[in-house]
């Protein structure tokens, strides 16, 4: 497997992502309410929560795609959204990739490489691992949803980032590609890369996550290690532990 460590490793602080008192409204609807959050370097942190809990908004704030109404977000010591250069260390896999329909997969890859100033050499092995080889020369419009998602995953890993943000990464992937992706995530963790994972598939998070952030109605309901979550809820499975948290909140 190709070297996964970032090309220019930087000494990340112990806390690589920090959100302090962030709030976000869309119109009059509050989406995030004074959230404090820390993500430790070199660990896999799962962001969980039901639909509308604020997971995607939180990701957008980290990437500087949206700005908080209150509070601040720092990523690797830099304020999110101020200077785009901090995103050079981030690999992002969005939930719904929509690449330009008339470009080929290879052209999409080239475009992103050019935008990043060819920071890393081309990595055919990465694309081969996702069985993308011949598909890369076809127009995106002719690719299946699953193949687009594989391209989406490969693009996130392509730049050997210090931080990986994966939003519902296995959605739409076949079991083989899903297994490849999970192996990549685990290898990335071993290489010291910080990984933020948003997923509804709690069973797969169980194998991958070190820490859990559970959002409910725009507030952090739990933040800590997966082991601690299981301890305080008295459950052995993540799915049941999360259900227990929601029950407690409801009562």
């Amino acid at each position: 497997m190709t070297e996964l460590a970032p090309p220019y490793p930087i000494a990340l602080p112990c806390t690589v992502i920090e959100a302090a008192g962030i709030s976000k409204h869309y119109g009059r609807t509050p989406v995030l309410r004074r959230i404090d959050l820390t993500v430790k370097a070199g660990r896999v942190t799962a962001i969980l929560g039901p639909n509308g809990a604020g997971k995607s908004t939180l990701i957008r704030l980290l990437l500087g795609l949206a700005r908080p109404d209150e509070g601040s977000v720092t990523v690797a010591g830099q304020t999110a959204g101020s200077d785009p250069s901090y995103r050079a260390g981030i690999g992002y896999m969005p939930q719904h990739p929509r690449f330009p329909e008339n470009l080929t997969g290879r052209e999409v890859v080239r475009l992103l490489r050019e935008l990043r100033g060819h920071a890393v050499p081309e990595d055919d092995e990465l694309f081969d691992a996702f069985a993308l080889g011949p598909q890369l020369d076809k127009p995106v419009r002719s690719l299946s949803g699953g193949t687009r998602q594989k391209l989406n995953a490969a693009v996130a890993f392509m730049f050997r980032p210090n931080i990986l943000i994966l939003d519902e990464p296995t959605a739409g992937l076949d079991p083989v590609a899903s297994r490849v992706l999970k192996a990549r995530i685990l290898s990335a963790r071993q290489a010291g890369i910080t990984i933020l994972l948003v997923s509804h598939v709690l069973s797969e998070l169980e194998d991958l996550a070190d820490d859990v952030v559970f959002l409910l109605d725009g507030a952090v309901e739990f933040q800590g290690s997966l082991r601690r979550l299981k301890e305080i809820t008295g459950e052995n499975r993540l799915e049941q532990a999360v259900a227990r948290l929601m029950q407690r909140k409801a009562s």
């Binding site: 795609l65 785009p84 250069s85 990739p97 080239r110 050019e114 935008l115």
Partner: protein, 262 residues
């Protein structure tokens, strides 16, 4: 550098787009047909003027709005790269406007070129037609960009885009006619010149009609219009107004793009 990269790849995407190719091909067939069977010369230019004034803004605003809504997720992915929003905006606008303008220029210009119909006295009106069509493409692509950034809902955005096109093409003229008939006892030529400048499609129309010596058909108003728009100052003001029509929505879209939550 970012702007050029985004522009280059968007151009590549739209160059292969069936819609843009279809647009250029339709204009090409229409122009060729008008030159061959529609009497050729000034008549063809006049007919093309009507097509250009209705179709170019419609295609620019509707295709532009739809393309931008369709690209929203990809724009998010681009914004997640280490690139500035300003450069990305410039690349996106140029990458959308240039293929559409090229489609118009090739669709209308090529038949004139290979038939040799754009030479002699028709060269001026033809150049004016190509210039007006290109400027209208730039204006309505900028408006499309602004609409897609202001309205998050795709259906509402598309509805607003069509409404704006309808207003500029038909409703605005209806308002002017109403005004002219209601106040027919007053000298309205100067206010009408002012109102014409406020609508980019009207600007294109008047400019071309005057170039084709059809001002006489418009009576006294035509004479006043010819005196104003035919002068150096009038032409300069008209071009400036069209450029302002492009710069205004573009500046508003730029400010919105830089502040928008994606």
């Amino acid at each position: 550098m970012t702007a050029i990269t985004v522009f280059r790849y968007e151009l590549q995407d739209l160059r292969r787009s069936r819609w843009v190719m279809g647009y250029a091909l339709c204009l090409l067939l229409l122009t060729e047909a008008l030159l061959r069977f529609g009497g050729g010369g000034p008549r063809a230019v006049l007919s093309l003027l009507n097509v250009a004034l209705a179709v170019v803004p419609l295609v620019s605003i509707v295709f532009g709005t739809m393309y931008l809504y369709g690209s929203r997720n990809f724009i998010q992915l681009l914004l997640a790269q280490p690139v500035g929003r300003g450069s990305l905006f410039a690349g996106l606008y140029a990458g959308l406007a240039v293929p559409l303008a090229a489609g118009f220029l090739l669709g209308v210009g090529l038949p004139f070129a290979w038939d040799g119909a754009g030479e002699g006295p028709l060269a001026g009106p033809l150049l004016m037609l190509l210039g007006a069509g290109t400027l209208l493409t730039l204006v309505f692509t900028a408006v499309a960009l602004l609409v897609s950034l202001l309205v998050d809902d795709r259906a509402k955005g598309l509805g607003l885009a069509i409404l704006l096109w309808l207003t500029a093409t038909a409703l605005y003229d209806a308002l002017i006619v109403l005004l002219a008939t209601s106040f027919s006892d007053y000298p309205l030529e100067l206010p009408l010149i002012g109102l014409t400048i406020l609508n980019p499609i009207d600007l294109g129309r008047v400019l071309l009609l005057l170039r084709l010596d059809t001002a006489a058909l418009m009576g006294y108003t035509g004479a006043v219009f010819e005196r104003f728009f035919g002068s150096l100052l009038g032409t300069g003001l008209t071009v400036a107004a069209l450029l302002l029509w492009c710069a205004g929505p573009l500046a508003a879209a730029y400010l919105r793009f830089c502040r928008k939550d994606f």
